[in-house]
Amino acid sequence: MDFTLDKKHEMARGLFKDFAEKEVKPLAIEVDETEKFPRETVTKMQKFGFMGIPIPKEYGGQGCDPLTYAMCVEELAKVCGTTAVVVSAHTSLCCDPIMTYGTPEQKEKYLKPLAEGKLLGAFGLTEPGAGTDAQGVQTKAELTEDGKEWILNGSKCFITNGKEADVYIIIAYTDIVLDKKGRKTKKFSAFIVEKNTPGFTFGTKENKMGIRGSSTYELIFQDCHIPAENLLGARGKGFPIAMHTLDGGRIGIAAQALGIAAGALDRTVEYVKERKQFGRSIAAFQNTQFQLANLATKVEAARLLVYKAAEAKRTQQRYSVEAAQAKLCAAEVAMEVTTKCVQLFGGYGYIREYEVERMMRDAKITEIYEGTSEVQRMVISGDLLK
């Protein structure tokens, strides 16, 4: 077992770090304050291949691996949680399911431009009455009599990249069947929906605590006709498709959480060396030293789990438990580390200019979206007790 990165991964990390420092960091405060989607940065990331890192070259991607992708999200999140989630939602939640379940025609039509950076992707599962409980999904898709189109009706909420995306993976129920106990159960299917499809509009823009620049919108479908060939995967297989997609997504969010934690720690290490109290830098106090030691150890533990999950995605068919552990750990570490970093900053930590307060606000969502920490515990314990 070798825990050192090889040269290509080292160089890729250097690239992401360089890009994050030069292109992303200077805009992070503005993106947060104004809730402005970082379109210019996204255009640059599209140009330099950041939007298709783990996708094979034949489908317009970079032909790298999940680890490289995770490192990209991590480095972006060190300076801007918003920019990181744009990449994560696009790659894990839109490109990945088309890569895994798409037909050759769907890959050519949608995956290629998504991975090449010509289009931006999003994913819609959550609804006002359905988050962790997927059976609550009300969005419905009906096949027209001639079998040529699906008609979507319903709405999705809290959708990342909401109004900015071009292509959406939408989960809707297509059938109601009786389960073994004779209860009615919804069977879901996944669909690829293009922006500007008649009947597809946007509702409320969410005003959020953190990741404020990410475009989080409600999606509304009213008699929205989509071609039959835009069914992704088999009819009725939407739930496993969504769950598998979220397994991958959790690695992205875990990497985002890791980056937020590591970024806050980096800032704090710099700050405690400069800040003077009682005639010496606060880094000279043992409380500061021990706190930093604890935080650095937790960040490194989270990093190992995130990288392990990324490698598991590369080498294994199933990686649900690894992804859940990585996300559970990294998200909780992000919340703890950012909170303690704000404390180490003292009063300045509460001031926006110093950015660790933003990181603390950004960290919170990583414990919630793409499966709350409680859901991750269900996945992990479910595997233990099966």
């Binding site: 160089m11 690239l15 790298c64």
Partner: protein
């Protein structure tokens, strides 16, 4: 169209500078980056390639320690087609004369239409190697390029050259050598896939030792270097300077202007 870009791996000044006892740089002990002027030269070459990718080949060449392989792979990850690493113990400790002789010795065994080098490297700051290579190869040289345009049909290159308070627009027949300024072009980022390609295809970088070079022994390495370094040191800390507190802003201006006149700055 074949373009060779000469690049150098230089110490990253952020990592501190370390010297060997003989005064030459201890390159193995320092963090390394691609020299900024060379990177701009590479970007210029890649832009020429962007105009006609099918018919343009960009080769990056460097002389250095085996670890300089990384800087070639970085260039390939940015878009260069292949790299050539010139490395041999007998080439160590070279000054600009020995370096340019060695690189010219490699270029004599290569095909090229245009050679681009950086103006100067941030470690030595001599700005000599580029023009010296041109001299060894009997090529026209245009230095301090801020803009490079190639006319493939006429087989010429048009260069906007920085010159004190003005620019020169110069045209030269190919083959020729151009030295590039960092201002020439903002270098593009590598792509993640480019990095993977650069390392997954080990053959993209060729390694040449002394035996592959068309150069005389007397012109290589430390022994072939006429320059002798008397003494080298890291940056010397500056003194505290002079602190004055004039009575008014006008007095402060008078004081500063007086000092500047005294130093013949104005």
């Amino acid at each position: 169209m074949k373009i060779v870009v000469c690049i150098k791996q230089v110490p990253d000044t952020k990592g501190g500078v370390k010297f060997k006892p003989d005064g030459t740089l201890d390159r193995a002990a320092m963090l390394a980056i691609m020299n900024p002027d060379d990177k701009a030269g590479l970007e210029a070459a890649l832009r020429i390639k962007d105009e006609d990718p099918e018919n343009t080949e960009v080769t990056v060449l460097t002389m250095g320690l085996p670890k300089a392989d990384d800087v070639l792979r970085e260039a390939i990850a940015m878009g260069a087609d292949k790299g050539l690493l010139i490395t041999d113990r007998v080439l160590g400790g070279a000054d600009t004369w020995a370096t340019s002789s060695t690189i010219a010795g490699a270029l004599k065994n290569m095909e090229y239409d245009l050679i681009i080098t950086g103006r100067q490297a941030i470690d030595g700051d001599t700005a000599q190697v580029g023009p010296q290579i041109a001299e060894h190869l009997q090529l026209p040289v245009i230095s301090y390029a801020e803009e490079i345009k190639v006319d493939r049909d006429a087989k010429t290159v048009k260069v906007k050259r920085q010159y004190d308070d003005r620019y020169h627009i110069l045209t030269a027949k190919l083959p020729c050598l151009v030295t590039a300024l960092a201002e020439l072009a903002e270098p593009r980022y590598m792509t993640p896939g480019g990095i993977f390609d650069a390392y997954d295809n080990q053959d993209l970088v060729t390694v040449w030792g002394r035996d592959k070079l068309d150069v005389e022994d007397k012109n290589i390495g430390k022994a072939g270097s006429p320059t002798v370094i008397a003494k080298a040191s890291d940056k010397v800390a500056k003194g505290k300077g002079e602190t004055v507190t004039p009575d008014s802003p006008a007095a402060a201006v008078d004081y500063i202007v007086g000092k500047l006149e005294e130093q013949h700055v104005i």
